[in-house]
């Protein structure tokens, strides 16, 4: 095994442990946004796609890397935007409003 491979494996294992540690007791209401947030993070594959696109020379390789870049960007942009849309609604819930904004709320 080369030194680089040992280094990469070390990073890999520590990152896995980090991933286990980072998810603690999450309330069920946050399961969906959290999954969606993690989903956007693996959009980091865009970095890899850009690197292979940069060195693509033959047509097949160019087509494959074009698809890879487009797929990865869709993952990144769509993932973050849709997660933010979900969480935007949670902000309203986190600050429970005692007076719902309905016009007929004059019962008191």
């Amino acid at each position: 095994m080369s030194t680089e491979l040992i280094g990469a494996l070390t990073v890999f294992v520590l990152a896995i442990l980090c991933g286990f540690a980072v998810i603690s007791k999450v309330p069920a209401t946050l399961h969906t946004p959290l999954m969606s947030g993690a989903n956007s993070i693996h959009g980091i594959v865009l970095v890899g796609s850009m690197l292979i696109a940069a060195s693509a020379t033959d047509p097949l390789s160019q087509v494959l890397s074009l698809v890879a870049v487009a797929f990865a960007t869709m993952n990144v942009v769509g993932g973050y935007v849709v997660t933010d849309r979900m969480l935007q609604m949670f902000r309203k819930m986190a600050v429970p409003s005692k007076t719902p904004p309905a016009p007929d709320e004059s019962k008191a």
Binding site: G19, F20, V26, P33, I41, V45, N75
Partner: protein
Amino acid sequence: MTPIETVVRLVWLAGAAAFVFGLMRMNSPATARNGNLVSAAGMALAVGGTALLLISNGSVGVAGWIIIVVGIAVGGGLGLFTARTVKMTAMPQLVSLFNAVGGGAAALIAIDDYLRIAGQGQVLPLDIQVATVLDVVIGCITFTGSLIASGKLQGLIPCKPILIPGGRIVTILLALVAVAGSLFLFVTGQTNVAVLFAIIAAGLIFGVTMVLPIGGADMPVVISLLNSFTGTAVAMAGFVIDNTVLIIAGALVGASGAILTKLMADAMNRSVLNIMIGGFGGGEGTVTAVGAEGGSVRSIGIDDAAIQLAYAANVIVVPGYGLAVAQAQHAVRELAELLESRGVNVSYAIHPVAGRMPGHMNVLLAEANVPYPQLKEMDDINPEFDRADVALVVGANDVTNPAARRPGSPVSGMPILDVDHAKSIIVIKRSMGRGYAGIDNELYVNPKTGMLFADAKQGLADLVAAVKAL
């Protein structure tokens, strides 16, 4: 290492740290949105750094830049458009679609790398071969698996578990192809494009055969599992092209996704293994029999329902996916406010998996400005059904089925809302159609239950009018 390269590598490290920090902040509702922004900033840093690296080393030709710019424009445009226009009800299938393309991109990186090296007639070191094969297999499985999951949620593919004849044999054969192909590559040490394509095909088909037999109700857990798979595939892609930020972010998602999958399965009282080996498959015959013999269904009119609701002391609303599909969340809030103004105590019983995914219903009701304190989680509300005069079930089905308390039914063991403990039950439903699990609901033949056959939105609007007229 050039100075620019050093800077870019440090920027990548900062991006990876932002992902960890962002995920941590997404564990609690108060900091979640900020956490997502931190994570997005990390992504912007990592991608920006990569662009800087490519500009500075000057080796990228015009064609390379065209590919990158066009790819980002097309993918970014599609992602932005779909994410901003999707209805909140259809959001789970979109997340699954994003997961599919992420897995696809990870697989493409390894495939492209392999084809290039094969084209040059070089020999791959064993560790790169292992990473390549794992990336290709896992990436292909998530690509087709997530597409099938998305299709099921969108209704393009029937939600019911689809049993493939000889499915188990097909699965074993596919696994054999993948393992034998991989071993052949490892042992001979030669690049062999034909074997790689066999492995790609096995992965793609495996993704389909894995998800097709799983019922729609289990789809959230499946999507979460596939999300974890994609993370792993991305980490493998990091090994293939020797890039640390891909390894870190991929491993992070792979591990956190696995934990999240387990949390989700626990919330539904299901085991991940059970879901994967067949889900709601067995015992269908016995269950339909229970429903069929179960006696008569009592239908109830708008005015009767309105009187019951208006003169109740405690009403519990049980919203389900049907409410979301009919876009009736505003109508239900209107009815609840009207009842409250008459002195009725109204609360909402939220099943952990109401809607299409855990937490989905909270999002939908929050969108309709339902006051947060009225939303009660299952464990808090279940004891209160005994004191409820009326339980109003709108578009919820399987999560109210008392059959779950007995063994022998496909929903057995799934935690349910104790709707049948209420003094009286009103179910707004379009027809006697079945729910996600594809079985009959015993609640509907309960003597206490009155079925109000209507579209959720229209039915609620009629109820509002009828209560006002009292």
